[in-house]
Amino acid sequence: MPELSYREAVRDAMSQAMRRDDSVFIMGEDIAEMGGSMGVTQGMLAEFGPERVRNTPISEMAIVGAGMGAAIMGMRPIVEIMYEDFLTLGMEQLVNQAAKHRYMSGGQMKVPLTVRTQGGAGWSPGAQHAQQLEAWFVHVPGLKVVFASTPTDVRGLLWSAIYEDNPVVFFEHRTLYPLKENVPEELEPIPLGKARIHREGEDVTVVATGRLVHEALKAAAEAEAEGISVEVLDPRTLQPLDEEALVASVKKTNRCVVAHEAVTRMGFGAEIAALVQEQAFDWLDAPIERVGAKFTPLPFAPVMEQFVVPHADDVLAAIRRTAARA
């Protein structure tokens, strides 16, 4: 079992697809010689050449839109948007165009486009380089949305995104890039729409995404010491969502905490909470707890940044609150 970092796992999925399939190519800002702002595409220019590893202008509307046009014409482009904050610049092309061409054409077109991007707090990049905007995209019919939290998952899910015939917005979390793990020898595709249970438990289900999966696992270990058995579930794909796994877990534990780094209010967790109460209301023994960022832009000063985004302690506090309800 080879050990790969999350960063290397992303690169490996793209490289393997590009080795076997001429229709796959990557484009984005500073991804060629520089290897991307996060070093994800390092070495790919040397292996695949400038036709398939394309540096672009700083031009998100054109990058997303051109990726979509190439996809409609039969390619499987992987577009890198340097920071997910910059997805807002390509929003028109993603939301009005890529998400809707299949629908508006009555099923004549398909758009096998993957848009990779990354974000997340932790390095004090400030308010325009660290947002978590996944909730914006799960609201748009026609898009699929992935947020992977481990090297194995990111490799298998990215492969499936590349071979998906619909546009996929693929979120990576910046602080996870150095995270290492033994991964399967052969890349194993992970189907979109399948959750992963990281840890089984009996008393509380924590539904967590991205960095918060790891925070939830830390919190679960501490809760265990206090006699609370915690199940940690990562949906991995936010759209389509594995409702079945989610509801089954809550029906087993009867308590639910949702945890993400994005702003809590109107966040992805609100949808999870709505869904759980619709499908498992009679099984719930306590109100659903939400853990997320405070309702503020991300501040620069590290002490303020750490205050705004959630950590293991916040997840643990939520677990304790829900467990304390009779």
Binding site: A62, G69, M73, R102, S105, G106, Q108, D165
Partner: protein, 325 residues
């Protein structure tokens, strides 16, 4: 008109030009019928006709190859007919029927026809341009001798997508032709109020892009200019900005009172700039010849209305299909 290049290509045969006249008249009568049906309350949605701009659609479409693709605008009926979508399927789309070019999911502003290279009319001004750069990139990467064509108006040249798409297309020298149908109004706003220049082709200069300006009311001139533009792109010499100076002889939308036009402008344009009159004079068509073409296209248009009315209605729940592949 400043900047119009003299074209030296061989003149088109009278037969070919008569065919173009027929196509332009078909588009005209189709759109007049669309206006009529809309006013009669038969058609839902927003409708924008391109009456007066038919020569651009027919000239460019006639120069395109079978494997070429295009993206259109909210004013798309002419482009679709000129590239071979049938009036029956187009009218059925405007009626929201299953047999429509977009199966009733698109409407007038979202006409598609994948089999005929129509990648979609677009209701966002400038929205289709990056897609054309990307489609052209796919052709270049695979070494296919195909060209991707974008239609858009003067108003679109103020959008970010226009500048980003043309910059990327020229930087990567992809086989694309950007056809600006300059009808001198962005909806109701005249050019002088929406851009600080009068020659839109200057915008291509900023990208180092080859540009050709043509009288958009002269279908033969448009055809020749488009041939040159397409050939340039197809050879791998890079994209071309094709500026067609044209005139919309009606309002922005069906029902537009056009309060923004100076007095007398519309009457003068109709008297001097109608592309059908230009071609009729050039061909010296007789009354009998014109009558024959007229009868032919009116019959096709009337049949399209019958076809559309009798076509299949959707079930409401069909709305849930086609969200994902």
């Amino acid at each position: 008109m400043a900047g119009v290049e003299v074209t030296r290509a061989r003149a088109l045969s009278a037969e070919r030009l008569r065919g173009m006249y027929r196509e332009m008249l078909l588009i005209r009568r189709f759109e007049e019928k669309v206006e009529e049906q809309f006013r009669a309350g038969e058609l839902p949605g927003f409708l924008h006709v391109a009456i007066g701009q038919e020569a651009v659609a027919v000239g460019v479409a006639g120069a395109m190859g079978d494997a070429d693709v295009f993206a259109s605008t909210h004013r798309a009926h002419g482009h679709a007919i000129a590239r071979g979508s049938t009036p029956n399927e187009l009218m059925a789309e405007l009626y929201g029927k299953v047999e429509g070019v977009s199966r009733g999911y698109g409407g007038s502003m979202h006409l598609y026809d994948a089999a005929r290279g129509n990648l979609g009319a677009n209701a966002v001004v400038g929205g289709g341009l990056p897609m054309i750069t990307g489609a052209a990139l796919a052709f270049k990467l695979r070494g296919e001798p195909r060209v991707a064509v974008a239609f858009f108006g003067d108003g679109a040249t103020n959008t970010g997508t226009f500048h980003e798409a043309l910059n990327l297309a020229q930087t990567w020298t992809v086989p694309a032709v950007f056809v600006c149908e300059n009808n001198h109004y962005a909806e109701s706003t005249p050019m002088a109020q929406h851009m600080p220049i009068t020659d839109v082709a200057k915008r291509a200069v900023a990208f180092g892009m080859r540009s050709i300006t043509v009288d958009g009311q002269d279908v033969e001139a448009v055809y020749r200019a488009a041939r040159r533009a397409l050939s340039h792109a197809r050879k791998g010499d890079g994209p071309v900005f094709l500026l067609a100076e044209t005139y919309r002889l009606v309002g922005h939308y069906v029902g537009d009172p056009q309060v923004y036009r100076p007095p007398g402008e519309l009457q003068e344009l109709r008297a001097t700039k109608d592309p059908l009159d230009v071609l009729r004079r050039k061909l010296g068509l007789t009354e009998e010849e014109m009558e024959a073409v007229e009868r032919d296209v009116v019959r096709i248009v009337e049949e399209s209305v019958e076809f559309a009315r009798n076509a299949t209605d959707h079930r409401p729940e069909d709305a849930l299909e086609n969200v994902y592949a």
